[in-house]
Symmetry: D2
Subunit: 309 residues, 4 copies
């Protein structure tokens, strides 16, 4: 098993770009591990910092407990040693999240990404979430990254909770997919004294996030345009803001299309066009309609990423 | 194993009141099957039509796949033969929902209650949900009840989808917890030609739901004030609307308190006061604060259900 | 000038059905007072309790201060003496609301309907709204009816505020257009000791509102199907709930169409079909598209209110 | 009367920082023109590009039609000739907006800021809003700036509508107060060929907005910390992003406090502390509670803008 940075003694450096990889299925809706490996092989040429396995785009809520572990194992074996493997281990209960976290670490994950529980969102106040994340971070053999994705959970991890949790020695960062840039800046501001990093949860506001102090991104679009998202990262890091801006502009519409607008079905469709294995989602996620596929193609074309049919 | 009404040949009659029973845990957060049985024994004196196991109040999202089946088995063994056991079998994916449904039927459930998948709610349009429920209903050995609970899922099963699905021979009804009475009336109106029934998902609008044609309720409050909720049912059925109204009034605040306001922690606290086993929730659901407990008690007291301390 | 019930000594009886009348405009978008009078003449055969002038359907936010008064004057002159004229006098500021209220009373209004101010909704908490309504009710020469219409204002007058305000001697009721039947029942329950009445703000939940103790309705649909809405009222009052239910069912879709779905443009289009002067709205409200008009017609037809083209 | 840039021949350059000035009232809630002038005199030392009169912070919805014009006249007379006066002229109807716009131009406004009508938000689709703004821009003697402020209106001017309207020769820009940075970047991207500029509607995301191509801001906080907001502008323009970031950080909490959190009452309270005339708001806006005032003070103190009491 690959060595792992301890989550306790020194905080893991999570800076960089990660694709939240999708899970390929075969025609029976079973996980296709070969296709998964082939995708990872292609990604190996892109200067990603690592891979997020079972972020929202991994259809993790559609995988069984066993599949979740198997997929992480598979990724862990396939990728180069210098790549970080961050595994989504969030479940609704604290107990299941801890259990999954432990198994993810055994399976080779260097860190875990823990989404806010949300089914009882009316009661998921700061008290509940701080308790949840503290229990998980206490128990986790690997560093924990908080994950706020209100588009899916209907819940935003509050600034106060994030700031409190940032002080935990085993909590190293936050993936924020909400895109409220004021909030992102405030969290960074108020955690500056901690060893705590914020990753933009989308390519749509990656430049803006860098401009206020974020240090990376977990971007669905990086599954399709990985090189370009990493270019944007480099332009931001090196202070070439004008060039960054022009590149950022061209990524927004494709990004929105494969996230908020058409979701994972759109992302997988675009992956197919760009030489990766996208394929179908598990039901009830439906494939794109013909009209949607046309619109998606047009969005990639008009921004210069695809040639006309 | 107890006999089961076939879901195919004739539609199951689901009319009546059901408590969506809670899951008692011991001090280690493990399911306490003895306490569960004791609660069911006490409920046997209340004229319930049956029991909903693993509605939202059963903390089903906090149970493992195995625990979900075990709890249904346990309930199935404990309750009288004339009581319906309706088991929540909803999962995010169609495949897991079908699998769970089959196991719930084997475990003794007479019908299943299938919550709308919601994590990818931006894509859970009518097409996706009709596909999902059709697949599940096709495969299910027992009748299927649709379940819309926007307070937890952030998603309302659309009228059009409900009306289409009502035509499926193995879909017998809808539990609507949203409480939009106009919508409830419209669904009933548009499914009058089908053998399809609507159950109010809360005691807060039970009378109003009856007034527009609902035929029962799955009411969290029935875990605490079961006799009274069944009285309200009888008053509605027998057309004693004035008396019904006066009883309805006194149930609203306690109901809101143990649902929207304080959630399952509030419900379990009230159960403890009324001689049932409530106890703690699984983490991250926190127990009531002292102030909340006081407020809850005051709400039951001011409506005449508890004496002053 | 017509005599007025004092708002101070005895509370005005507001029970019954009211159309929130629309404002007819000529081709220059100017108020057409002749058409307004003709509509009122036709309405004189319907057993309405009175008329709401400048509810949301009156396009009051599109009228100048002067026009608002003139329209009330005109209505006041046109209608029979036994009909109540309730004038919408709500403005954003307390001072303007008071001023408009006084002028509405002079113009012949028997009561005023005061919408919650909402532009600064983040600060329109109970403190602000109780202060606002108290100032207005103190100053008003006629009784005040609270008006909560979250569909337009994005703000629901809280139960606590409504209950507190119900104790004011010059506040006689609430028009609730939100349609949350649990909330409506709770407000009625908690104001039973006051001389305070709740009117349903829509024909969509009129029966349900009666079932929990409402005493009337201000229903957009009554501009089109006034007789039928009054029939529904009578069926509810006389306890003929089954017949009421069947009539209620047939009103829901037309009601939704002329309110939430197509708004005032839909309402005015339907009025044209039923022999009233509907006509165009002021800009920026657009007329229905051809497709929408067709859908609207089909909704009235399928519910048995219009014959096929 | 001061000369005005024609809105037709060449587009007005609106780049820079503007305070959306507040309206001082005396103890009778009447506009205090002397205090208004004194505020403007103090602001004359700050390198603002100009002043927004009757943005949301000007309590414009609480002013009569006459007061709205008088305040603009007063400001127009008080400020230096090189300062732009941008007057909020938005009303709910197109006809009233046009009328107000004409009078604002006569009163000395160099441009008008036109908020999206919102009361009938269910029908304020792209068709309606494009029609509205086109009519207003056609009629306006001065350039028009679009104004989207979903926090108050519950409505976001859609990207498609903004992009279409940007082509109008008399529409020069957009004030976006929603703060969705992805959306802001996309609008800028899609209007690059137009002479169209975007202003950030808040100091909370000013740096981020500059990073994606915005050219200025209309910032409530500039009423209090005008010099600092202009410093932030300069740091962004000159590419000193690190320094900009540090300054931006310290502005977020005070900004949130005087906008979303405590509103105009908070803004006016802070103005009092910083030597301006803040004072009370018109009712129903309430003054801060003592606790709120303390919290507000603490926020300014902890960010280094006020010394401890």
């Amino acid at each position: 098993r690959r060595s792992r940075t301890s989550g306790i003694s020194a905080k893991l450096d999570i800076r960089g770009i990660y694709p939240p990889i999708t899970t390929p299925f075969n025609h029976n809706e079973q996980v296709d591990y070969n296709k998964l490996e082939e995708n990872l092989n292609k990604y190996s040429k892109v200067p990603f910092r690592g891979f997020v396995v079972q972020g929202s785009n991994g259809e993790y809520v559609y995988l069984t407990s066993e599949e979740r572990i198997e997929v992480v194992k598979s990724v862990s074996k396939s990728v180069a040693k210098d790549k970080l493997v961050i595994a989504g281990s969030g479940c609704e209960s604290s107990i299941a999240t801890i259990h999954t976290t432990e198994r993810m670490a055994e399976a080779g994950a260097h860190a875990v990404l823990v989404v806010t529980p949300s089914y009882y969102r009316g009661r998921m106040d700061n008290r509940a979430l701080i308790q949840h994340y503290t229990q998980v971070a206490n128990a986790s053999p690997v560093p924990v990254i908080l994950y706020s994705v209100p588009g899916n959970t209907g819940l935003d991890l509050q600034v106060e909770a994030a700031v409190t949790l940032a002080q935990h020695p085993n909590i190293v960062g936050l993936k924020d997919s909400g895109g409220d840039i004021t909030r992102i800046a405030l969290i960074i501001h108020k955690t500056q004294k901690e060893d705590f990093h914020v990753l933009a949860g989308s390519a749509g506001f990656l430049l803006a996030a860098y401009s206020v102090g974020a240090v990376g991104g977990v971007c669905a679009l990086a599954n399709v345009l990985g090189t370009q998202v990493c270019q944007l990262e480099q332009l931001c890091i090196s202070g070439q803001w004008e060039k960054a801006k022009d590149l950022q502009y061209r990524l927004i519409e494709p990004n929105t299309a494969v996230t908020r607008q058409m979701g994972i079905a759109g992302l997988k469709q675009a992956m197919d066009w760009f030489g990766y294995h996208g394929g179908k989602c598990r039901s009830p996620l439906c494939p794109l309609s013909e009209l949607e596929a046309k619109q998606l193609n047009s969005i990639f074309t008009s921004n210069g990423w695809l040639s006309h049919f």
